[in-house]
């Protein structure tokens, strides 16, 4: 592909596009965020099959009914999958190196059937590790309420 460099480049226009979307988080996620504010972990439960979703989901994909029962779940969870991140996503979409590696995991709360993707404290993790949620009830942004997870004990 060395010959490419010799071609005249096509003219380009770099045009920024910064749309702001005012999504509703929906009634179910509102219960989730309000619960975290009080230190509670609220999952939704399908009345038909009993599947518990965390974060909560309004509709059970399997039964096609409203998952309108609520359960408060314990803060303990199990690591289903984990990865050591050497990079993060920069604003322009490039992957840039992190100064120190971070652990990202899929954790499944005891009593839940779905996972949360979360940051794990510490430097190592393995599938099967028991962890517990670190909730920062004072966080300004609701997205920071469920701050991270740390190993139990």
């Amino acid at each position: 592909m060395g010959a490419k460099a010799a071609k005249d480049p096509v003219p380009r226009a770099s045009i920024p596009l910064n749309p702001v979307f005012n999504w509703s988080v929906g009634n179910w996620m509102e219960v989730f965020y309000d619960g975290l504010r009080e230190g509670k972990i609220m999952g939704s439960k399908c009345p038909a099959c009993g599947r518990v979703s965390l974060p909560p989901r309004m509709i059970c994909e399997r039964c096609f009914v409203k998952a309108e029962e609520w359960v408060e779940l314990p803060s303990t969870a199990t690591v289903q999958a984990c990865t050591t991140a050497s990079v993060k996503v920069a604003e322009n979409g490039d992957l840039v190196d992190l100064d120190a590696p971070e652990i990202i995991a899929m954790v499944k709360h005891d009593g839940a059937d779905t996972c949360i993707a979360a940051r794990l404290e510490g430097k190592e993790a393995a599938v099967g590790t028991k962890v517990e949620a670190v909730i920062d009830t004072g966080a300004e942004n609701v997205l920071d309420l469920l701050a991270s997870y740390k190993a139990v004990g």
Partner: protein, 380 residues
């Protein structure tokens, strides 16, 4: 399906990090080459399907400016905002309706235009995951790999060896963007670490590119040399990424099972001669072996170690180098169909495998292959 719809021609452009073309020129080159290869003219097309993405392209209704280069002016036209393999499904059903004889499907994108992996992040739930900046296509795939490795006892070395195989095969494919002749697992593991176990060379490099296929009804295909028949298709949709088990590809298995029923395949490992799979990451190829029924569940690593899927094995997988060789999104899976058809016709050049009569082609869309589609293709 028995000789109802055929692939009669195709074209790919060389995949490049930046192909230095406007999108319209790129699409025109691919569609014109495919139409010419079919011995047809624009006027002969009954229906046109484009596969692309508004977000990658940066405009709503990203097919609006493809009316000229896709040859779709005043024609029955649609687009799928998914991989081109789903565009082929669309074309297939239109031809089977009996209303159309000739269909053109084009898949395309230009990673050089926008945003690294940002388009993929837009697939995440905006009310939670997207705003936490932990998941993206690569980190989610790393979690998928982690779950699979724990369940199947697969090692990072085995995953790296899959990448090495594909990158070595890609050295024989003139269209490939990334290739490494004689690559080994060590070299793959030594490439830039991203999210463990994934290193740079285990990822499908997003790039610029387009490819197109021309499909025909049995009537229209009767005049064509070496038609490649679609013998079966199956597709399935799975849960959102955090709400399913990541240690297997459930929707790919459902897609494959449905496809094989249609194609009369009872023992894929012996009846399939070659497969082109849409592996966005090397470990997904191992998972695909299982879901496609080439080996038992959780035996993907063992099956790979047997050498069966190498270029000289009994069931070569990704002789072209697969998506690890080039990943022009929305064209990547469509290119798997083209590569499988090339193998059946004996037109694959330096990566031609001998005696390919029946081949599988796979396409996927979504984070961690949320949606999958499988085709069985066959010659005369």
């Amino acid at each position: 399906m028995d000789k109802e719809v055929a692939i009669i021609a195709y074209a790919q452009l060389p995949y490049e990090a930046d192909n230095n073309m406007s999108r319209e020129v790129m699409v025109l080159k691919a569609t014109r080459a495919a139409i010419e290869a079919a011995g047809l003219k624009r006027e002969d097309l009954d229906t046109v399907i484009t596969a692309n993405n508004d977000y990658n392209d940066g405009r709503t209704i990203s097919n609006m400016r493809l009316v000229e280069p896709a040859g779709s002016w005043h024609k029955n036209e649609s687009k799928v905002e998914m991989d081109g393999t789903f565009g082929v499904l669309y074309a297939l059903t239109r031809i089977l309706s009996g209303d159309h004889d000739i269909a053109l499907v084009v898949g395309e994108s230009q990673a050089s235009v926008y945003g690294g992996i940002l388009p993929g992040i837009m697939m995440l739930d905006p009310t939670f995951d997207r705003q936490r900046w932990l998941l993206n296509e690569v980190s989610a795939a790393a979690l998928q790999a982690s779950a699979y490795m724990a369940a199947a006892g697969v090692s990072a070395e085995q995953i790296a060896a899959v990448a090495a195989k594909n990158l070595d095969n890609a050295a024989l494919n003139p269209f490939a963007l990334r290739s490494l002749k004689g690559a080994d697992a060590k070299k793959v593991l030594a490439s830039r670490p991203l999210y463990s176990p994934i290193t740079e060379l285990m990822t499908a490099p997003r790039c610029d590119g387009a490819c197109a296929v021309v499909m025909a009804s049995a009537k229209a295909a009767a005049k064509v040399e070496k038609p490649v028949w679609i013998k079966g298709v199956g597709f399935s949709h799975d849960s959102y990424v955090t709400e399913r088990s990541l240690d297997s590809m459930g929707s790919l298995k459902l897609a494959a099972d449905a496809c094989y029923r249609q194609a009369g395949i009872e023992d894929p490992a012996s009846q399939i001669d070659l497969a082109e799979v849409h592996e966005c990451f090397a470990h997904e190829e191992l998972m695909a072996y299982e879901a496609l029924g080439f080996c038992e569940p959780l035996q993907g690593g063992v099956f790979f170690d047997s050498g069966a899927t190498r270029l000289d094995g009994k069931l070569p997988v990704n002789a072209s180098g697969g998506a690890l060789g080039a990943n022009a999104e929305y064209a990547t899976g469509l290119a798997r169909i083209i590569e499988a058809a090339m193998q059946i016709r004996g037109d694959a050049g330096r990566h031609q495998v001998k005696g390919v009569k029946t081949a599988v082609a796979h396409g996927q869309t979504g984070i961690c292959a949320q949606e999958n589609i499988v085709y069985v293709l066959g010659g005369e």
